[in-house]
């Protein structure tokens, strides 16, 4: 139920809607729950037709650094 699917923003439809690509399937998603603006190429999480979160690419890089720390700290 709390399943949220990672998707790629591929078209800006209007102020409250974007088109997303979910492993090749395109559908519209509502952006009402998101404060930050979206751009084509952003990764987002979609839950029941609404975007609930936008991937933070800087943070994703930080995550990878944290992995390295944990994985190298034998």
């Amino acid at each position: 139920m709390c399943l949220a699917i990672p998707a790629l923003v591929c078209e800006l439809v209007n102020e409250k809607r974007v088109m997303v690509d979910i492993t090749g399937v395109r559908r519209e998603a509502d952006t009402s729950l998101l404060e930050e603006p979206l751009e084509i190429g952003d990764y987002v999480l979609v839950h029941t037709g609404f975007i609930i979160s936008k991937l933070d690419p800087e943070q994703a890089k930080e995550d990878l650094k944290l992995w390295d720390e944990i994985l190298s700290n034998q």
Partner: protein, 367 residues
């Protein structure tokens, strides 16, 4: 194309992480019990076979994280009462269709003529109501914070005379506190749900280490995400420390999704909620606030007190929901209660603990 998830499924990374977890676990002579409270965690970790890879002294317990499973029979009884007595069309998630009420499931009710539509989300139900102004629609809304914010977005903007919402929404952190307060449960750390946390952030869990000196880690859903979560909870347990670690930072901000939280606060009020087989848990639910009474099915229809029964035929879903028992210990499991013929709520959804155990033929080690 989707998010490049491959690196979160990398076999080598998984193997190294398992090794690290084993090294840590060896420092404990006792069994370490970690509880997650998310149906998607249960599904994804069993699908990836993670329980079988973990050292034997780590027990990963499934808590009450499947919203369909925790939905009380009474909520379904009431929705069906509205349908039967007010000639209403019910719209709801497909997951809800086979969940038993006191007497029947929504599918069975559909079989005797009740009009029930399966929708992907609340917005689709609203579109149906717009297209059919002569028909009265009720959207039966279940889910934790991930779903309730979506419902909230429609509560605050929808003004249709023929549409209302029955809220069976529940919230996670106060339920976690009630689990901590139980004398009949023993566990050492929480794995917090990643997608709920995209909305609420890390803050609402902070009382757990502060008040209970109890470790929490927020985890995502790929195998590496889940293992990193387990690693960080285990690290805290072994170390004797307690804090909230956010291991899903690429999607979860400390303060959560502010815009969504603002809408939720406007649309809902905190309420007591009925959990299947577990009674009423104070302040663990979300009801539509008075400001939006026009869209609240519980106010629109005068629902009487109905006799209700959460558990049937010896079902122990109440114990399975809080991790007190395992599906394989239930005498109905995979016999009279199966994914294709569920008796208990936990056997219905693909995220239900019993359904997952049956689908992936999970074997548990006998003590």
């Amino acid at each position: 194309m989707s998010e490049p998830t491959q690196k979160y499924r990398d076999k080598d990374v998984v193997n190294i992480l398992i090794k690290k977890i084993k090294t840590l676990a060896e420092k404990s002579s006792e069994t370490v019990r970690i509880m997650h409270v998310c149906g998607t965690h249960e599904h994804d970790l069993v699908k990836a076979g993670l329980r079988s890879l973990l050292p034997k002294n780590i027990d990963l317990i499934a808590g009450p994280g499947c919203p369909v499973c925790v939905c009380s029979a009474q909520d379904i009884d009431e929705v069906l009462w509205i349908a039967d007595n007010h000639n209403v069309t019910i719209a709801t998630f497909g997951d809800m269709m086979r969940v038993p009420s006191s007497t029947e499931s929504l599918y069975q009710a559909q079989g005797r003529g009740v009009d029930i539509k399966i929708v992907y989300g609340v917005s689709d139900a609203i579109k149906m109501a717009e297209k059919n102004p002569e028909t009265e629609f009720v959207f039966f809304s279940v889910g934790f914070e991930t779903t309730s914010c979506v419902t909230a977005a429609e509560v605050v903007r929808t003004k249709l005379p023929n549409f209302s919402i029955y809220s069976s929404h529940k919230i996670v952190p106060p339920a976690m506190e009630l689990l901590l307060q139980r004398d009949d449960l023993e566990f050492d750390g929480f794995l917090a749900p990643g997608h709920v946390s995209t909305i609420i952030g890390a803050k609402p869990y902070e009382f757990i280490p502060e008040k209970y000196d109890f470790p929490v880690s927020i985890a995502g859903f790929e195998p590496v995400d889940i293992l990193l979560g387990i690693y960080s909870v285990l690290d805290q347990i072994i170390d004797g420390t307690a804090r909230v670690d956010n291991m899903y930072k690429r999607y979860v901000k400390h303060e959560g999704n502010i815009a969504a939280l603002r809408i939720v606060e406007d649309a809902f009020i905190l309420s007591d909620a009925r959990w299947r087989g577990l009674g009423v848990w104070p302040e663990t639910g979300h009801e539509i606030s008075d400001k939006y009474a026009h869209i609240d099915a519980k106010k629109k229809f005068d629902i009487p007190d109905l006799p209700t029964e959460d558990l049937r035929d010896g079902c122990i879903c109440n114990e399975i929901l809080i991790g007190k028992s395992k599906p394989q210990k239930c005498k109905l499991f995979n016999k009279s209660c199966r994914p294709d013929y569920p008796i208990g709520a936990c056997m219905v959804s693909h995220e239900g603990t019993c359904n997952v155990a049956a689908t992936y033929e999970e074997i548990i080690w006998e003590e």
